[in-house]
């Protein structure tokens, strides 16, 4: 589904990704771990198409298409979803209206007819239940004044609404209490299928007890330096990242 080859990316002439390779197939869950500043969020943004980053080398294929020419909205309509590490607050735009526009844009690109108010509400109710988010929150401006946990839940709610092929969850677990973590993980697991795939970026092994990964990768200094199965996360938690540095 996703194949990243020798990806180099920089921002304002600072090199951040330095030859990264990653292959994700349908039905899989990949976890990416790594120290602060190693380039995890950068990778997520580059896949989602943020234009501030220059891809200087390498390429990303998604569903056998080269992504480089696609704008962020086109990538989203192709089925890529990014749950932001720091969701943006947007005053004056309610999540409900925003989602209605987004869902119908995605439908339009698939040649489906737009949902009417009743159908949309039905879909929304169903997905709200999944992440246990209140209507009241969704009629407010996007993320404005939301608590950290509410913002993360809103991300997963949006993911559920858009039903993407590839979801990238950038530290969706950070700052969540154990109940919220269960709710969010449960949402993610419910949406998992053999046709989609998930990349979770996290610092904590704890999340991986709930969202069990098929692969764990360690990203350091802009490259994936080690990959393994879920036991790698346990090992990392125990030994820290220095252990890898020493081994290399």
């Amino acid at each position: 589904m996703l194949e990243i080859k020798n990806l180099h990316a920089s921002i304002d002439d600072t090199k951040i990704l330095k030859g990264l390779n990653l292959k994700v197939s349908t039905g899989e869950v990949h976890a990416i771990m790594g120290p602060n500043g190693s380039g995890k969020s950068t990778l997520a943004s580059v896949i989602a198409g943020r234009e501030d980053y220059d891809v200087t080398e390498g390429k990303i294929d998604f569903m056998n298409n080269e992504l480089s020419e696609l704008s962020p909205d086109e990538r989203a309509r192709e089925g890529i979803f990014l749950a932001f590490q720091y969701p943006v607050e947007i005053p004056g735009v309610s999540t409900t209206n925003f989602m209605k526009t987004a869902v119908n844009q995605v439908r339009k690109s698939k040649g489906e007819k737009p949902l009417d108010a009743v159908e949309f509400l039905k879909l929304m109710k169903e997905k709200m239940k999944l992440v246990n988010i209140k209507q009241e929150l969704l009629s407010r401006s996007i993320n404005e004044g939301f608590s950290g946990g509410e913002k993360k839940r809103n991300e997963i709610f949006q993911m559920a609404m858009l039903n993407p092929k590839l979801s990238i969850l950038d530290e969706t677990d950070s700052g969540l209490d154990i109940d919220a973590l269960k709710i969010v993980s449960n949402g993610v697991n419910t949406l998992r299928s053999k046709d989609n795939a998930t990349i979770v970026v996290t610092h904590y092994q704890r999340l991986l007890n709930y969202i069990v990964p098929d692969f764990v990768h360690v990203l350091m200094d802009g490259k994936i330096v080690k990959s393994g199965d879920k036991n790698l996360a346990l090992e990392l938690e125990e030994k820290g990242y220095d252990w890898i540095k020493v081994k290399n």
């Binding site: 198409g49 943020r50 925003f98 987004a102």
Partner: protein, 421 residues
């Protein structure tokens, strides 16, 4: 430059003795208003652009009345129709409790009542275009809202400009004690040619009265000068909503004098400027007595090659203790060569007051744009969502649901035409 205008002609044909005197006094003082022109029109050289259009055209204007009729909304709402400054009773619909007359047709008593409004406090001593309006206008339309009248449905004022030269509109509005009225004013051009419309309105709010005033300017290539001068008595409330869209050059003066205690004035404005046009809002609030509140918020979006100007003056006189005066102006520039000049000016002589002012000039929030796009919304729609959200602080101040919807839709359609690069 004024000498070349031959304004004496307008005075010599005036029939009303008092008005004639007012006109000739204004002409005598016009040098004074010219003096402040340079400073007040620093960014808006309106005179240079319209000098050859300022004179009134003597030839009898014929216009296509059917065409005009077709652009008047066909509903039962109250409306006041004015063509090139002349009131058209047969096309208008006036609620009871409201009296509409030409000033020259008023009884001596009524003239006395309007004296203050009509001739008392326009800004022609300081403003050259108001001076020219005072001298050149053919007819002053008086609107009197009688005492204790509550007019729930808004009254539309539709002004048509036909002349390819200039049209002068002059209104004097008197809202008597404890009355409420809502006006929604619009200027429409019926010629394809570039013209100049010049409008001056004086509004007198008597004790305990309330006014809502909507002004919508949506020209294509017109030059428009508009001055509204407001005088408020004790316990009165005014709410001004000024929406300006394209137009070659628009200059708005809104001057509010809070004469007594316990007055309340709200001034909200929104502008979206495109097609190399130019919109200038100059406002003044003068707090003369204790315990009054003024609250002003203007927001605007400016496309490349266009310019916005905002100048807000607040005066708090020594007697005006316990004044609350707030002002802010926020702008989004859509490209590097879009320009905004914004300037708050506060002069405070009283010591026990709360005043605040602030202005911002910024760009569209890139993080927000990426967030919306990352959910599948194309750049153009995402931008338009963000810009209309930006305008929502202003539109949400409109209490009437239908009217608010109307302005929200107008803004959306205006935003679609904006150029982002």
């Amino acid at each position: 430059m004024v000498e070349s205008l031959n304004l004496e002609k307008s005075i010599s044909r005036e029939l009303d003795k008092d008005v004639k005197l007012m006109k000739s006094n204004t002409l005598k003082n016009i040098k004074g208003s010219l003096k402040t022109y340079k400073e007040e029109y620093k960014y808006t050289p309106l005179f240079k652009k319209t000098a050859n259009k300022i004179q009134i055209n003597d030839s009898k204007l014929d216009y296509d009345i059917e065409k005009i009729k077709s652009s008047i909304p066909k509903n039962d709402d109250y409306k006041i129709i004015v063509i090139d400054g002349l009131y058209k009773e047969e096309l208008s619909k006036i609620p009871s409790g409201v009296l509409i007359n030409k000033y020259s047709d008023l009884s001596e008593d009524m003239k006395g009542e309007f004296q203050k409004a009509y001739r008392g406090f326009d800004d022609s001593k300081k403003d050259i275009f108001s001076s020219i309006n005072t001298i050149n206008h053919l007819e002053c339309l008086t609107i009197c809202v009688e005492k204790d009248v509550n007019i729930k449905n808004k009254i539309s004022i539709i002004n048509f400009t036909n002349s390819t030269q200039s049209s002068y509109f002059r209104k004097s509005i008197l809202i008597k004690k404890s009355s409420y009225v809502s006006f929604s004013e619009e200027f429409l051009g019926s010629t394809e040619e570039i013209s100049f419309s010049n409008s001056v309105s004086e509004i007198f709010l008597d004790e305990n009265s309330k006014l809502d005033y909507f002004s919508c300017q949506n020209f294509r290539k017109n030059f428009h000068f508009n001055s509204i001068n407001v005088f408020q008595r004790k316990d009165s409330i005014s709410n001004f909503h000024t929406y300006s869209f394209s137009g070659a050059t628009i200059r708005n003066n809104l001057n509010i004098l809070l004469k007594d205690k316990n007055c309340y004035a709200n001034m909200y404005g929104f502008y979206a400027i495109k097609n190399k046009s130019h919109i200038d809002n100059h406002t003044t609030v003068d707090h003369m007595d204790e315990n009054s509140i003024s609250n002003e918020h203007y927001k605007g979006i400016v496309e490349g090659g266009s310019r916005g100007v905002f100048n807000g003056k607040i005066y708090v006189r020594q007697k005006a203790q316990k004044t609350n005066a707030f002002q802010s102006n926020n702008n989004i520039l859509l490209s590097d060569n879009a320009k905004v000049n914004t300037k708050p000016q506060l002069e405070i002589w009283a010591d026990d007051v709360k005043c605040s002012h602030g202005c911002t000039v910024g760009q569209l929030d890139e993080d927000a744009l990426f967030y919306l796009m990352s959910r599948g919304i194309p750049k153009k729609e995402a931008t338009s969502i963000l810009l209309s959200a930006f305008s929502s602080d202003i539109t949400e101040k409109i209490e009437d649901d239908n009217l608010r919807k109307h302005y929200e839709e107008l803004i959306l359609s205006e935003l679609e035409g904006l150029n982002y690069e």
